[in-house]
Symmetry: C2
Subunit: 454 residues, 2 copies
Amino acid sequence: MEQTKFILAEKDMPTRWYNILPDLPEPLPPVLHPGTGKPIGPQDMAPLFPMEIIMQEFSPLNYVDIPEEVQAVYRVWRPTVLYRARRLEKALDTPARIFYKYEGTSPAGSHKPNTAIAQAYYNKKAGIKRLTTETGAGQWGSALALGCMYFGLELKVYMVKVSYHQKPYRRMMMETWGAKCVPSPSPDTRSGQAVLATDPESPGSLGIAISEAIEDAVTSKDTKYSIGSVANHVLLHQTVIGQEAMKQMEMAGFYPDIIVGCIGGGSNFAGMFLPFVKDKVQGKRPNLRIICVEPSSCPSLTKGIYCYDFGDTAGLTPLFKMHTLGHTFMPPPVHAGGLRYHGMAPIICHLYRLGFVEARAVPQVATFEAGVTFARTEGFVSAPETNHAIRVTIDEALKCRETGEAKTILLAHSGHGHFDMAAYDQYLTGKLSDYEYPEEKVREALAHLPKVPA
Amino acid sequence: MEQTKFILAEKDMPTRWYNILPDLPEPLPPVLHPGTGKPIGPQDMAPLFPMEIIMQEFSPLNYVDIPEEVQAVYRVWRPTVLYRARRLEKALDTPARIFYKYEGTSPAGSHKPNTAIAQAYYNKKAGIKRLTTETGAGQWGSALALGCMYFGLELKVYMVKVSYHQKPYRRMMMETWGAKCVPSPSPDTRSGQAVLATDPESPGSLGIAISEAIEDAVTSKDTKYSIGSVANHVLLHQTVIGQEAMKQMEMAGFYPDIIVGCIGGGSNFAGMFLPFVKDKVQGKRPNLRIICVEPSSCPSLTKGIYCYDFGDTAGLTPLFKMHTLGHTFMPPPVHAGGLRYHGMAPIICHLYRLGFVEARAVPQVATFEAGVTFARTEGFVSAPETNHAIRVTIDEALKCRETGEAKTILLAHSGHGHFDMAAYDQYLTGKLSDYEYPEEKVREALAHLPKVPA
């Protein structure tokens, strides 16, 4: 019997998160205050986050202990399984070895609870009663609803309007766990009202939803804000994925030649590759390739500019040095709602500029073709976001067929597509289309980049 | 740390299915030919099933080896996890110990693939090219679509019309795996045409859909029929659940006082309890209680008659001795589509008559209340069918709170509710209602029971 599943014992689940910051060959550019242009400090973030999370954002330590209360919830579904995709390999007739780490077994169906649980825990510990957040396709919102349920916090989720209507089941899931969810732009905040005044039919964007959630948090009692991606502490929490995968790849007897994942804000894939990229940064694995996959209609890394920009649309956040399409850019309504973000995690952008990771943009229809191939071989129906990574995994495996190389490919499988079946239906009935790269809209948005005070 | 998850190694996955037939204290009443009134033999079933499956239907052996090809697919998600529901226990403030065996991690999201994989395998082995089947809520149809994908068979699914419209995502899932799915009653068969002629707006029923699938199978080339519940061989295949659970309860150090599960055709719950009921039949566990939970609007065990009836609506099947509401009974459109069946697995009915299992009927709204309690404690959002079992689990745990008894309750958790969120939405917004027990309609249907030829 050929082994296809690599399972860690609970006792081998990581007890610490891995922090890349002290291992970076050059320090991460500082986050700047938009008013002063000076680096922000922990106190500047205090209106948004509890201090333990803020400390993680700037932590100089290589590892941060995972509290036992968080581990206890992780154990509901962790450690997750690493699969060898033997059926996919066979269908592609490739000598490549394809592995995938499957995060779809969490109650929320994706990797997002890895940080949602931690954030809910730290807020609860700090005496916070209520959280606010934004969500795209709803994976983050439902994950935080789950986290808040476990720790007894109220939650209000601002969900990007196009996804709110495309994916009502995710909203219902949040409500089942006790959260409140409204479409964004909403009339509940001044940021939302401003967008609606200009465009009542606005499909929304993650940037707008972030503005609304932040405004709600800073203007409400006992309330903090929670972010599902981009920030250093979110990437930190996700490193349970990569640390587990590293042990599991050892069990399988292979070290990856290529690691592939999709990037929206970047947390899922960074959670996978950060423990591995350390080997590359330290020169132990110079040939390791790490491929970040983004939608060709919202290509922050491959087409964005590396500069300081706001994380949200209204300009309520500090300024982050990142690849951005401009904080006012409104991405086309692709089904991969989690990848519709104008910016990218600063850590990923930094590593990209330093040459440690590469990026590739893929069009929507090709990603669903890949997702159906995956479903028809491996069985699991994947999220539209994940299908982007599957596309490139298949492409790399097909290259191996041409060259005859038996490369080892590790795919970060971020979650299932049970709430995205309508998109599969569109693909299967030929109704799904690609969106052109919206060059003109990006140029317009880039003309509105914030000026950094000298 | 208190253990909440009991995990079997792959090597401890059962390699044999457990067959209750030779262990029954009295033999199961024979299946009769509707024309002759004589017991049917293997050859009578040959138009529907491949011979290896037919042999399992009548097997005198205690165990049937699970083919390695089937085990290889089982291993995609098996062994499944047994959980101790500590958060639910705490919320209920009960001394009861609640365990649940969670089948929701299969790619199709329920227990159904346990038999779908086996049936697809045996048909493929017998040279069959195409299968037909019926499905209620779509869990069985999607599971068989998955099974047929793994073994390269075509599939046509007749889906009960009310569910086809209520749960379009399950249809899309079947199509993603390559199956064809039509609403039943359909114009594609004479059975479907006959129903549509009487009632063009018929919501359909499992009985009608079975008629259509059987008719298609016996009139098409290289085609056989596949059934998702009721039949002996289906219950047999599901015993991987109970065998695993038995080992896991040993790991946990407890033997159940009460086992609870929902019953539509009965295969999921029988798969759980058959390995345990053996202990009761043999006098080793006289106090073990096994509670079968059904909807009060479709209560085959608690209100049905124990007699010979057809398995389908059109009368194409042989006659089964079972508790039935009458094969022409049309159940109300409750969300638990998998429980909308007029009959019940003969093995379960037999054990019920012999006093080894008991039955309880519960109304719809109370089941969703229980499902929301479960989601808000354990995290997992459960299928409407499963919520029936959760309702009784909670009720029994609350009784323990009153009496102070620390009973051990084992819940057969058949799958997730990701495709049933609209039902949760109805419940949460107060729009869900109960259906009265349709006494008059049952009386009518029972007046049309088939006469058994002398």
